[in-house]
């Protein structure tokens, strides 16, 4: 099982003052209208935002449009950003709200525009074609299972496992108590176990 060390959660409560943010210098320049600095911020953070949008919307075109819209909002709001949280925390808060709103707006249409080109877009860590095929199959199953979860569970799974946020950071992004975050993650994992483990066990028993 992969072991991932997360950055320690911030000791300071939200709003208690400036936090240590590796993007702080760029953010300060952005706040004064420096487009070049903002372009670097976008380049640094776009993967997480796009992945969140793709995860919640399941469609390339929608995810791309949502990502652009999110950064336009961020650019507009940057002069008011006072560095009380990390930029990424603030960015993900805007991204989550924006994607969930868009998802609600598209409620009926989202299933119709579901993107089946997911395998071409998934990042692969395997070099051997046979291993790539196995990994693709596993990835497709995992994505399908996560996509079947309610939006709030998809969001916590994405933030915890893909963006590797801490519980504290997630609580800040989602403006929820720590206990609620843990409870949602717990329910999401159990739901995924129901979907994924039985099929996997049948395969193992057959072998």
């Amino acid at each position: 099982m992969a072991r991932v060390e997360r950055a320690p959660a911030s000791a300071a409560p939200p709003g208690a003052g400036a936090v240590d943010d590796p993007l702080a210098a760029l953010v300060e320049r952005c706040r004064h209208g420096d487009m070049e600095a903002f372009e670097r911020v976008v380049a640094e953070t776009q993967s997480g935002v796009y992945n969140l949008a793709y995860s919640l919307l399941g469609n390339h075109e929608e995810a791309q449009d949502a990502t652009q819209e999110i950064y336009v909002r961020v650019w507009r709001a940057l002069p008011g950003f006072r560095g009380e949280a990390r930029l990424t925390t603030w960015l993900y808060r805007i991204a989550v709200n924006s994607c969930l709103n868009r998802r609600r707006r598209l409620k009926g249409r989202l299933a119709e525009v579901e993107d089946d080109g997911i395998l071409e877009r998934l990042e692969s860590s395997e070099a051997n074609p046979a291993d790539v095929a196995i990994q693709n199959d596993r990835n497709r199953t995992l994505w399908a299972a996560v996509r079947r979860l309610p939006a709030k569970y998809q969001t916590v799974i994405h933030l915890f496992y893909q963006q590797q946020l801490t519980y504290d950071e997630m609580a800040e992004v989602l403006a929820m108590p720590l206990g609620t975050i843990k409870a949602q993650l717990n329910r999401a994992r159990h739901a995924l176990a129901d979907m994924l483990y039985s099929g996997q066990k049948e395969q193992r028993d057959a072998v």
Binding site: A2, G33, L122, L142, L196
Partner: protein
């Protein structure tokens, strides 16, 4: 620890074990592990959750489109400059004429003699119904001392305001030097016609 206490905390325990993290946990790790060693049902549940945890730690990301940063910046550029900070990035040839225009307008208004202002019914000042000019004077009196020159001041201020306004509109519009020259020719021709008409009338 009983099964109903262990199971709600099992996935958090397994996730923390996988990520090598501790602290702030809602479970007692030692008690939970003792229970797992004794309880086959909870061990089976732990196995299911470990399988999911392992799959999720390799949860694949999608590669964003190569043009995403450029697309974002193109869209953001339509919003540039940020509204709240617009004044900081305005070039001098916008804010200098704009400032001059506002100053000239203020001087022009302040130098209008009160008797030239239209008399319209207004609100009460000091218990009596005041005319519009009296109401204006309440605000303009402190300004009128230095510029109380009557009509001459008004004309000078109006010329200044017009010049500044023209400068402002030229700065805001994106005219080429040829277009500016053509506009100057038209304006001087119009001024000559006005001057000739005035002389003939005399």
């Amino acid at each position: 620890m009983q099964c109903d206490q262990v199971q709600p905390r099992l996935s958090e325990y397994i996730a923390d074990m996988a990520s090598g993290r501790g602290g702030g946990a809602s479970y007692d790790a030692d008690a939970l592990e003792r229970h797992l060693a004794e309880c086959p049902a909870c061990r089976a549940e732990a196995e299911r959750l470990r399988y999911v945890e392992e799959a999720l730690w390799s949860y694949p990301g999608v590669t964003p489109p190569a043009t995403l940063t450029a697309d974002v910046m193109r869209r953001v550029a339509l919003e540039h400059p940020a509204p709240e900070e617009a004044w900081r990035v305005l070039p001098w040839d916008v804010w200098v004429p704009a400032g001059a225009f506002l100053l000239a307008l203020l001087v022009a208004v302040a130098s209008i003699p009160p008797h030239m202002l239209p008399m319209v019914p207004g609100q009460e000042i000091g218990g009596t119904v005041a005319s519009w000019s009296e109401q204006v004077n309440v605000f303009l009196t402190p300004l009128q001392g230095p510029v109380q020159g009557g009509l001459l001041w008004s004309v000078l201020a109006a010329i200044l305001a017009t010049t500044a306004g023209l400068g402002l509109s030229l700065a805001l519009s994106d005219w080429s030097s040829d277009e500016v020259s053509a506009m100057e020719s038209r304006l001087s021709a119009a001024a000559s016609r006005l001057w000739n008409s005035a002389r003939r009338a005399q």
